[in-house]
């Protein structure tokens, strides 16, 4: 299991990287390597060129501006994990990142790499969907923003053109005192989720739901925002019974069938985990 032959490029700037993408045919971008390297070792991909982004320092940043968390594409998952700002003001992301692989993979894996690889169960992908994130993309024709809802177009396929590079992702924050809950079911600690649910809640002082975000990961080929359930939650008084009842809707999601689980099981988990995520989120409302 050794990689096939390829040409290696290590640009230093975003422009150089984009230039290479534009110029070279059959090129793959190497970010954290936790997804691409296994595929190279198994020769599932046979690129003529590997463009290593690890020296493009400008892509590695984590900053918060006016309530928006801006993450550079090459930011390591471990930096998200150990960020006080994320833990304090984007706690759903903090809770989710602890489920991503293992220490060794988080030390190298990147946010941009995960978003572009678009594994159906990737926690960061679910986070981006849950937060209505925006990705910034740079190509030979310049920069553009893509709302995350439009970013995944098909199974592990993004809206990126062949010569475009994802450079950053922005997560808008939820107000102080919001509730959050991330619940994942995996066969073993750190495994890809068979199914996961991410919930964000805003409630008034009486427990009436003002705003809700409910995202399923790992169930379908793309992350699923349960918008019908979100709408039904708004205006209601939060309770486990309410959640249980509304989450039945999640059973109807088109689910993946594979060696790990039949589709019906993922659908079942969707209902169970989304309820548990909402319960968790509700339990955390009000805590600063």
């Amino acid at each position: 299991m050794k990689p096939p032959p390829f040409s290696y490029h290590d640009p230093r700037t975003v422009d150089d990287a984009v230039g290479l993408l534009n110029r070279l045919e059959n090129a793959k971008l190497l970010a954290g390597g936790q997804s691409l390297m296994p595929m190279l070792n198994m020769r599932y991909v046979l690129p003529d060129h590997v463009i290593d982004l690890n020296k493009v320092e400008a892509l590695s940043f984590l900053r918060e501006t006016d309530g928006v968390l801006e993450v550079g594409a090459m930011t390591r998952q471990r930096d998200i994990e150990f960020s006080d700002a994320v833990k304090a003001r984007f706690p759903l992301i903090h809770e989710a990142i602890l489920n991503v692989g293992h220490r060794q993979t988080r030390n190298r894996g990147t946010v941009g790499g995960s978003l572009c690889h678009l594994d159906p169960s990737a926690e960061l992908v679910t986070m981006a969907a849950a937060h209505d994130a925006t990705v910034t993309v740079v190509g030979p024709n310049g920069k553009r923003d893509i709302p995350f809802a439009e970013f995944p177009v098909a199974f592990m396929t993004t809206a990126l053109e062949l010569n475009e590079l994802l450079t950053a992702v922005r997560f808008p924050r939820w107000p102080t005192g919001h509730g959050y809950g991330f619940v994942e079911f995996a066969r073993r600690h750190g495994d890809f989720a068979i199914a996961s649910a991410a919930a964000l809640l805003e409630e008034d002082a009486n427990g009436k739901i003002k705003r809700a975000s409910l995202t399923l990961g790992g169930v379908g080929v793309l992350p699923v925002r349960m918008r019908e359930v979100e709408k039904a939650l708004v205006g209601q008084t939060a309770s486990e019974d309410l959640f249980r009842q509304l989450c039945e809707e999640c059973r109807k999601v088109d689910a993946i069938e594979d060696v790990h689980a039949p589709a019906s099981y993922r659908q079942h988990l969707a209902a169970v985990l989304s309820r548990r995520a909402l319960v968790s989120a509700h339990g955390r409302v009000g805590r600063a």
Binding site: K2, R187, R188, H189, G190, A261, P262
Partner: protein, 784 residues
């Protein structure tokens, strides 16, 4: 016998190099001009090979040679690897070729070998070998393969029945017809691969100066490999040497002699350069042997007091496409069923079925865990049906301590009667019941259920045949430097063989192991050997080491007595020399004794004794030593997701005298975790065309540290009367009770839903499905 070393914890000899990165594993071997191999393997479950075109591969940069069956044929005396253990039950021979010639019968079967300057280039070359296949029907299911009219796994075969036999005694027909209660279970038992963290590997070099071919192999059976390689090449075995370097785990698949073990040496011979091949993990999934499916249809007959009157049934065992070891696995399964219990009549018909998949050979437990599983599931069924406590049903049937040694009307595969040599089975069961709090569990369970938490306890007993004979030689020699050399045919793969042998010898020859050098797994170091499997080395090699050391001690004392001019009674061996107990300053170093016994030309040897300070022993024992134990486990099942968490795992085991309790415990815990893998995680999947569908560690789930519980190990020591040390094997014992104990516990936890488990592994998805179905049908519990 001195007890200072034997029975105690000592630092392992193996550890210092392994801890500091100085291990010498197969892939660490570097030789001048070493070339590297990659194999072209069949992508099909069954196909005819029409043509093989090497031209593009040979033109690939870095490729030195490409060999196929046609290239190898002139250099092979046998074109098939005839490795099967003898059995009268075979209905046909399906021996593997070195490289497939005109038919491939499983995905992963080697078809060609590419040799290049490094593995990267070899894989480049392998991708360019063009094999033209004609796809043939593949047989995926062992049951279907035995149905008349099924396509055949080998196109020129008449059918797919590899072997058939019956294991039986007593009058089952009478037992069943008279029985007030009979219960039947249909079980599907799946085990998986060995998956040592180190894959297989081979390095071969022909030395023209010595006229000797050396094969370094990550094998559990070096002497067998030497013999088989010599046979296949038609060489005298003095011209072939097999050496095992450090081995990163064996677990069974490495005990097999493989096509690659011939292909690599042949490539080295033809090329005139040493050649290395290291199996990668994907190859381990497709080319290394594994255990897979057994289908059991089995019934038990009991009287009104739940005493067993008889057990009978049928077993269909999946054999894979070739005979890579023999018919032994299901034979062991059949044998093991009744071992712990009084079973007056027994009959199991066993059929081995061919399928178009990689061959099935022992993985830790070697068929015996499946026998234990079948019996324990039957006993749980009896308990449930007769509304008795599961432990009580077992207590009424366990063979009592007073019955030891207990002859069972069964014969081992070599024809020896099975005699349970020692053990207190009811006591082991009681130990785990007490430790897990079996008696008070029901009230805890009820309280948990009231809070919608589902916990359960399970129990299982086991008896395992260990110490497979007939022998394992050990030679102990004291060298001129005073170093004590131990050579053995035993093979080390992590189970602390070297430390074990050193401890046994040190107990006789001086108490510490730091001046002892142990060499295992080198056919040039000792002429005969059998190897590591069937939990045999402590028993067989240990006994040989003990006998040799005892004899050597006697000689050492006699020689020293002569040279010191004292009586041997007053002497002891301490710290590398022989000393007068009453006056330790009167001493002579072991090395000096060795020199004296090495002789001086023209001078008589002291005391008229035979030259040298070396004793070789090969303790002979055909009968197996039977280890036993019991496990109790507490689980919590998430009734919504089906996830199973093991909250407590207690195992009591008896492997006779323990040479090193810490090592014993390590073996037990490792075996238990492997068993947990079999019960809850490991499934080697194939599709209908015999394509493996779990070929990476992301799909095939090994237990990690977060799923492994803390395991409490309770010890009992019932010395075995059939070997001088009183030891029994332990390496595979941990696996034995795990799956049935866990299934028993899950059923107990989910009894409100009447979930029944008749398979292993069981997954959360299946459990959740069963619970959902129960809720729908019976409207049990809160609606979901």
């Amino acid at each position: 016998m001195r007890s200072r070393v034997f029975g105690n914890r000592v630092g392992r000899i193996e550890d210092p190099p392994l801890l500091t990165g100085r291990g010498r594993f197969i892939d660490d071997i570097r030789l001048p001009r070493l070339a590297h191999a990659a194999f072209v393997r069949s992508p099909h479950g069954h196909a005819a090979i029409l043509t093989i075109d090497k031209s593009q591969a040979l033109a690939t940069p870095g490729v030195i040679a490409v060999y196929t069956a046609a290239d190898f044929a002139p250099h092979l005396r046998q074109d098939r690897l005839i490795v099967g253990l003898p059995s009268p039950a075979y209905r046909q021979d399906v021996n593997r070729p070195v490289l497939a010639r005109d038919e491939v019968v499983h995905v992963g079967e080697p078809v060609a070998i590419v040799v290049a300057e490094n593995r990267y280039l070899a894989e480049d070359g392998a991708a360019m070998v063009n094999v033209d296949y004609e796809i043939l029907p593949a047989v995926a299911d062992a049951r279907a393969s035995l149905v008349k009219g099924s396509p055949t796994v080998h196109r020129n075969a008449l059918h797919n029945l590899l072997a058939e036999f019956d294991v039986a005694y007593g009058d089952v027909a009478a037992a069943f017809s008279a029985a007030p209660h009979t219960f039947r279970e249909t079980l599907w038992q799946h085990r998986g691969g060995g998956h040592s963290i180190e894959c297989r590997g081979a390095v071969a070099q022909y030395d023209a100066m010595e006229d000797r071919l050396t094969l370094w192999s990550s094998t559990q059976t070096p002497h067998t490999a030497m013999r088989l390689l010599s046979d296949v090449l038609g060489w005298d075995d003095t011209r072939v040497r097999v050496v095992t370097p450090d081995v990163g785990g064996g677990f069974g698949p490495k005990l097999i002699f493989y096509p690659e073990d011939v292909a690599i040496p042949l490539a080295a011979l033809l090329l005139g350069r040493p050649v290395k091949w290291i199996e990668d993990r994907r190859e381990h999934f497709t080319g290394s042997t594994q255990e897979r499916d057994q289908f059991w249809d089995i019934e038990i007959a009991v009287d009104e007091q739940a005493r067993i009157l008889g057990v009978r049934g049928r077993l269909i065992h999946e054999h894979g496409a070739y005979t890579a070891r023999g018919a032994n696995l299901p034979y062991e399964s059949a044998q093991t069923v009744t071992l712990p219990y009084e079973v007056p009549a027994y009959a199991l018909n066993v059929k081995l079925a061919l399928t178009n998949k990689v061959p099935v050979t022992p993985v830790r437990g070697a068929g015996q865990p499946q026998g234990a599983f079948a019996m324990e599931r039957l006993l749980d069924r009896v308990a449930r049906e007769l509304k008795l406590d599961r432990a009580e049903v077992r207590r009424r049937n366990l063979i009592a301590a007073q019955r030891m040694p207990c002859a069972k009307p069964l014969r081992s595969r070599g024809g020896m009667q099975v005699v349970l040599d020692s053990g207190d089975y009811p006591k082991c069961q009681q130990m785990v019941l007490d430790a897990i709090g079996w008696r008070d569990f029901k009230s805890r369970q009820a309280a948990a259920r009231a809070a919608n938490v589902y916990i359960g306890v399970g129990l299982a007993n086991f008896v395992k045949g260990t110490g497979r004979g007939p022998f394992e030689p050990v030679a102990v020699r004291i060298g001129a430097s005073g170093t004590i050399h131990i050579h053995s045919g035993a093979a080390a793969m992590g189970q602390s063989t070297k430390t074990m042998l050193a401890q046994i010898v040190a107990a006789q020859l001086g108490g510490t192991i730091d001046k002892i050098k142990v060499t295992t797994g080198d056919t040039a170091g000792i002429a005969m050997g059998i190897g590591g499997f069937n939990s045999r080395q402590a028993v067989m090699a240990g006994s040989s080491a003990h006998l040799a050391a005892v004899a050597l001690r006697e000689k050492v004392l006699a020689v020293a007595a002569k040279l010191l001019d004292v009586s041997a009674d007053g002497l002891e061996i301490e710290g590398g020399s022989v000393q007068l107990r009453a006056r330790p300053k009167t001493a002579i170093a072991l090395g000096e004794l060795a020199r004296a016994m090495g002789g001086t030309p023209g001078f008589t040897l002291p005391g008229g004794m035979a030259p040298g300070l070396e004793v070789s022993e090969a303790f002979l024992r055909d009968e197996m030593a039977f280890a036993n134990g019991a496990a109790a486990v507490e689980v919590e099942v998430d009734a919504e997701t089906g996830a199973v968490e093991i909250r407590k795992f207690i195992i009591a085991h008896d492997c006779g005298r323990m040479i090193n309790p810490v090592i014993v415990e390590g073996q037990i815990v490792g075996g238990v975790v492997h068993g947990i893998g079999n019960a809850l995680f490991e499934w080697m999947g194939f599709d209908g065309q015999c394509q493996p569908v779990t070929t990476t560690f992301a799909d095939y789930l090994l237990v990690t540290s977060t799923e492994a519980p803390s395991i409490d190990v309770l010890h009992m020591e019932s010395p075995s009367p059939i070997n001088p040390l009183g030891v029994k094997g332990v390496g595979e014992c941990g696996v034995m009770p795990v799956a049935p104990a866990i299934m028993s516990a899950i059923e107990d936890a989910l009894s409100p839903f009447a979930v029944k488990i008749a398979r292993t592994p069981v997954t959360p998805a299946e459990l959740a499905g069963a619970i959902q179905a129960a809720r729908r049908e019976k409207r049990v519990g809160p609606a979901l």
